[in-house]
């Protein structure tokens, strides 16, 4: 509805405006989300060291056993400890998405700021490209590309990165373009400041919340996508502990030890929900569009 909104020159301050929309997401949930995210990060870095067993140790006398007997979540079809697999699998589950989100934000933000700042043909071309990419069913594309080339984990990461670019691009482009039209940026242009200085010193700090929120949301998308690929057998290489492949292995053991599937699944949901909540909260709290939602 933006084309209809005129800015009235005299506007009495509305003291209640900022409060209303923000009450609905209790900060308690945000704190919990932060704690979960931190815990996952710990697992990513030292999970393999603090795991109760060697995740690759096969106990063929004790396969697909339910919880108990020293195994908190039981064992998988090869007798490996599920908890140990989960803890050490965090690395594979999270590192790829981190790389994807970082790369997408880095390249997407740069392209977005360039498009928003320069406008014109560059902007039009980039936007058309983003529209086209956006219209693709991303995961299906990854399945086709990774499946056909049989490229494994890092190819999947690269393809997902490329597919995540449009989101980051679009979000930063629209806010950067909005900032570029504000008088303070135009005043900086009138002073003759170089474009790089205006973009990095004036525009970037003011769109940082959007960039961070984009990073978190991209991360969730990549986490789901990459573990999904592992679930289909196209992601993590066979033999390394990974949440997605564990989930798939466990599907055939649902009757004997459901935890092989359920535990990594719930862990995925928990991680994704926490990060989404953090991203939402950040978007609502720190960005202008969010504040008006």
């Amino acid at each position: 509805m933006s084309e209809l909104t005129a800015t009235p020159p005299q506007n009495e301050a509305d003291p209640a405006a900022p409060a209303g929309s923000r009450r609905l997401r209790p900060p308690v949930l945000v704190w919990i989300s932060g704690a979960v995210a931190a815990a996952i990060l710990v697992l990513v870095t030292v999970g393999v060291w603090i795991a109760p067993y060697d995740p690759m140790h096969q106990d063929l006398m004790n396969t697909a056993a339910g919880p108990g007997n020293g195994h908190l979540l039981g064992t998988d079809s090869l007798g490996r400890d599920v908890l140990a697999l989960l803890m050490s699998g965090a690395h594979n589950a999270v590192i790829g998405p981190l790389v994807i989100a970082l790369g997408a934000v880095l390249f997407g933000t740069t392209l977005g700021m360039m498009a928003g700042w320069y406008g014109g043909l560059l902007d039009t071309l980039l936007c058309r490209w983003a529209d086209l990419m956006y219209a693709l069913p991303g995961l299906l594309v990854v399945v086709v590309v990774v499946g056909v080339i049989d490229g494994g984990y890092w190819l999947a990461v690269c393809v997902l990165l490329v597919l995540s670019l449009p989101t980051a691009f679009r979000m930063t482009r629209s806010v950067a373009a909005a900032q570029a039209r504000l008088p303070y940026v135009e005043a900086a242009r009138t002073l003759g400041l170089p474009a790089g200085r205006i973009i990095f010193r004036h525009i970037l700090p003011n769109i940082m919340p959007t960039v961070l929120a984009t990073f978190l949301l991209d991360f969730v998308g990549a986490l789901i996508g990459l573990s999904g690929l592992s679930f289909l057998g196209l992601g993590a290489p066979a033999g390394t502990p990974d949440w997605g492949s564990l989930l798939q292995d466990g599907q055939s053991m649902l009757t004997v030890n459901p935890w092989v599937s359920l535990a990594p699944g719930l862990l995925l949901v928990l991680t994704a929900t926490s990060i989404t909540l953090l991203g939402d909260w950040m978007y609502d709290r720190f960005t202008e569009e969010g504040a008006h939602r």
Binding site: R189, T190, P205
Partner: protein
Amino acid sequence: MSPAAATDGPLLSVRDLEVRTAAGRTLVHKASFDLKAGEVLGIVGESGSGKTLTARALVQALPEGVVADGDIDFDGTKILQSSARDLRPLRGSRFAMVLQDPFTALNPLQTVHEHIRESLDPKFRAGRVTARAEVERRLAEVGLAKEVADRYPFQLSGGMRQRVVIAAALARDPQLLIADEPTTALDASTQAQVLDLLRTLQRERGMALILITHDLRVAFSVSDSIMVMYSGTVLEHAPASSMSAAPRHPYSLGLLLAEPSVTHYQDTLSFIPGQVPAADTVTSRCAFADRCRWSTPSCTDKAPPLADITRVEDAARHTSACVRIAEIGAQMDDAMRSHAARPGIAPTPTTGAPLLQVTDLGKTYRSNSLLGRRTQTTVLKGVSFTLARGESLGLLGETGSGKTTTARCILGLTAATAGSIELDGVDITDYRRLRGEQRAQVRGKVQVVFQDPYASLNPSLTVGAALSEALSAGAGNERAPSSLEELLGLVGLSSSYAVRKPSALSGGERQRVAIARSLAVGPELLICDEPVAALDVSVQAQVLELLRDIRSRFKTSMLFITHDLSVARQMTDRTLVLRGGEVVEAGPTAQLLDAPEHAYTQSLVAAVSGHAPVTARSDR
């Protein structure tokens, strides 16, 4: 004024109205007033005065998180004690409200017909034919053709939308209409028409009207009585005639004097120093004391009551919240008299060599529509003018006249599609063609001050950081100030402002910082794009005085873009009137405003309320 004004007992009676945030912060303090049937009350105040909250409390339409307390009696209904369910049948049929912005007040997915039909009394709403006829009658009443009924809001101009809003609000013939800044978002000529319409409708129907406005001239042109609010409290409530002739509160006087005159040049623009305090901080004292030249300790001892000071010459009850009014009344009358008797003489412009030469400037936007069809919009056509060194030239026009586009072309923020611009002998039509060094030189010569003080400063940089950056951009120019302190001093700010962020500044202070930033490179031409349009009246004059001071001190040439005739009168030597991207009239400002030749300029001048009707020069 109105025929129905003589009924007994008030239609609306407000006693000790308090408006607070849910957290308990006071926003409106002890507002009390009465309104008779058929009477027009103007509530006047600057931003933060609580005028809008007061009006919204009257119809239980406060924003979320704000609560009201006190007694509001509307024709026997205790408004604040009624439930939303009880009030709904009264809405539209007994009282109605018109909002400030006609651009957002209508449902974008509904036609005008649907808007008015849904607002009608059920007995007209039912039948298709009856409803259609009634809608057309209502449209005719607000001066709209019946074809308008099938249009969607986005197909209408702002003025037409506001007429539709008024028709919808009055569709069930309420006894009271509250209009919150109904003309603020509109152009001057449309403003006058909408105000006329409101006044006519009010008289024909004998309806009571509460008009909320920041503009005293607007209030005078419509109201029977005027209530002045400041920082959440009522300071004076007087018959309109008494208020305009002899205000009985220093703040009312200050507001009247601060309004720049449209009829004559003023040597000094009077203004109220300082800024509006938060309502919560002044509940137990006179809210205006800190900015009042007559203030004594007795003013801040306790909250001064609204006392009856009705005199023989008052047409109705007159109250004032100034405890010293008996002592200082005579001095205030003197101030009014000397203000009226002092039409200053505009300084004769010291015209030097041409600094800026604009020839046949044109700008056309091309865009691709959804279905791939190209559309062209021409916003500037054949605009030519010359600006001499030391001169101040006004660009006067309404929304869409192309005045801001002209400025943006000169600043190199957008490229003209036709014509040429020359600044101090350098062709700057296309900044991209300038060599780096040349471009830097041009950037040092022309600077700009924008309208919106809130978006003019980078929220993440301190004042000091922003100004230092500007100073380093202007390093090497001998006209540029040498230090941050000097720069802040130029705009009347102490050096302690350097560490503040924009969010800690008021609108007027931000605009001062924006002006300082433009002065940092020592420009020869300063483009002022509506620099006071977003500021309160009491602050406007401060900023205008500052700009005058800069002009006389540095002999800076100015291009003054404004929609406001009085600002053009006070700030410019010569004025160009723009309309639809073309210059329709140009000439010395005084001559142009006193005796406009072009019909459009005449209509602009005539639209200024309170201004004597003008006659074309040929009639004299």
